[in-house]
Symmetry: C2
């Protein structure tokens, strides 16, 4: 067959909210030869990664590393803490909030939803009032809604849930490391992250933290679980192993990316994501793009835009990909085809933002729009200064 | 942190039944930069892999590629075809047969077991007689029982199940490509394989085929499923996508390994595995190792041995690993600590078998056993000629 069709992808500038660009160091680490996943060196690998992950989640509990997409991590969060018939409150701010709620429903939870207009953040007061109705076993919420580019007020929602006696289950898949998430300090019971986001490694690993209250809930949770059984994962982690054969090459990459994150320092990682967000928004605004999210809730990980001049998002992306080698993401759900999503999380720096803005300007010009590329770049640079 | 503790692993001769050694071509392919998993080039990647996988499974249906360990594939097989309360018959010939049965039980199936002595193969006549009792919705069986090194008579068991009106669910995780598995011709309804076995890529992908009868069963199957929902996976595969973000780097590796398999030719792949099995058994016999499985059911993928002179398997492995850089696998369940398992599947050739036999001879001599390394190597070479 050959894989020549992949060659052109190697030169593509990839600015989507996952998979994010993987640093050369991490790609090379991931190409180490295989090892036995039941031997002392693997125990050291998994335990050292777990130790570093605690810093990333700001928790003293040991995050569990599962071989799955982030959606698998969300399923693990649900099935390890809940029973069929449990009432849960889901805060839905976009496609991924919907998904979290659907998983809970699939396994038999009774789900009430707070539906927030796509592009807006959840209002903690609304959440608090709804929780006060009582009887909720858990609150499901999203740290960074990838489909819209909005950061939700997880700390405030968690405080409301705690006061109402509900567990707090957080989808932090695209948010963790791009925006602060203080697992222990905020009282988050389950937090789920994914490898292909700000962790800068390929997709295939998901990380899940469990608070003591979540572990307690797991003892009586009756939804069926096997592959995603976290008490078994915790027990084998104590031996430095996973219950099932783990994605060894991705763990090699993880060890390297966790080193890079420690070298940069978490405060600098957060600051960089904010800078890039500001640069993308400023540059795109000059080009006439309309941001879906307002400044006060804008995501440091990804920004959604409507292109100027009535250009459809997917038509714009096709020109960007085909003529300029820039891959942006498209819309989901009601935004499908309409918007573009510019990912600025993970291994992305100022130069990638300026490249992205410049190529967007070029594509707009090709499509007949009047643009001032120099002004757009200057605005982006200023916002990132 | 650094990852210096991994460096010594790079020189380790890895002869375990998974993860198996990954060819350089595949490692390099897996280190390509990331791409969007929702773009035309990815569609081509997934569809071309799916087309090649059909040959590997000997099926005209399209195998589904899931991001998970093989155990996740087993869970997918169960939850997509069965409902709580369904009666199933599980043929248990070792640790992995046990696991398959446990997954079905976890999700509410009523499981009857045929327990076979570890190291022996299932007897189709016993299976047929038990199935004749009637009322079984499915038969669960294992093509290659990795914990013992035994190939089961799947074709005959499947025929018995078909006659009894039961679906045939096959764990072929470590068996596929190492030993024939004719999905369509044998009437297998669900067949599960794993990436880190004879497919020669790192762990993290599992492949699942579904017959028309299995798809029909999926329409009424009531076990809850979300991450492993195969009808959703089938629907998105028609667009060249996975429902959730797939392990992109492993798919790069898969494309390359499927090319290598096609270049070698499936008949040659099967013949090589048989040759290596014969070499391992002949060489180890000269050294005094006692094979757990008899010749007629011996696996082309992995061979289990009791070391000579009453040496415990794990003590022997520790010397092999620490002094000779050879990693063999240990025992599971009742065989834990006692046996060694020599993997000879995937990217393994005659030279690795001769290295393995030579290093086992050296370790035995160190442990005070009288050995004739030259005779052992000569026997292995003759058996592989």
């Amino acid at each position: 067959m050959g894989s020549q069709f992949l060659d052109a992808q190697e030169d593509m500038l990839l600015l989507i909210p996952g998979p994010t660009p993987v640093p050369g160091r991490v790609l090379r680490a991931g190409s180490r030869p295989m090892m036995n996943h039941r031997c002392p060196a693997f125990h050291e690998l998994l335990q050292s990664c777990t130790s570093s992950l605690k810093d990333c989640f700001a928790t003293s509990s040991e995050p569990l590393t599962l071989t799955a997409s982030g959606t698998g991590g969300l399923e693990a969060a649900i099935v390890n803490t809940l029973s069929p018939g449990d009432r849960v409150l889901a805060v839905v701010t976009g496609a991924f909030g919907q998904r979290f709620a659907e998983i809970a429903e699939t396994y038999g939870a009774l789900v009430d939803r707070i539906e927030v207009t796509w592009g807006q953040a959840a209002d903690p007061a609304v959440v608090e009032a709804k929780l006060a109705g009582g009887g909720y076993k858990a609150l499901l919420c999203t740290l960074n809604e990838t489909s819209t580019g909005v950061v939700n007020p997880v700390q405030a929602m968690a405080a409301a849930a705690k006061a109402a006696g509900a567990l707090v289950l957080v989808d932090a898949i695209s948010g963790l490391l791009a925006t602060p998430c203080e697992t222990d300090a905020w009282g988050l019971d389950v937090v789920v992250a994914g490898s292909q986001k700000a962790f800068m490694i390929p997709p295939g690993l998901t990380f899940v933290t469990m608070s003591e209250a979540a572990w307690e809930a797991s003892k009586t949770a009756k939804m069926p679980r096997f592959y995603f059984d976290l008490p078994i994962a915790r027990k084998t982690l104590a031996k430095g192993e996973n219950p099932w054969t783990p994605a060894v090459s991705l763990l090699y990459g993880l060890r390297e990316s966790l080193d890079m994150i420690a070298e940069e320092g978490l405060p600098n990682v957060f600051a960089r994501h904010l800078r890039l967000r500001n640069g993308v928004r400023a540059g795109a605004a000059v080009l006439g793009f309309e941001a879906l999210a307002s400044d006060d809730v804008a995501s440091p990980a990804v920004t959604s835009f409507l292109p100027p001049g009535g250009i459809e998002g997917d038509a714009f992306r096709k020109v960007l990909r085909g003529h300029y080698g820039l891959e942006l993401a498209g819309g989901q759900g009601p935004l499908k085809g309409k918007i573009v999503r510019f990912g600025h999380l993970g291994y992305v720096h100022e130069a990638e933002v300026l490249k992205g803005i410049s190529l967007m300007a070029a594509a707009l010009a090709e499509l007949g729009q009047a643009v001032d590329p120099a002004a757009a770049v200057a605005a982006a640079r200023k916002a990132m200064a």
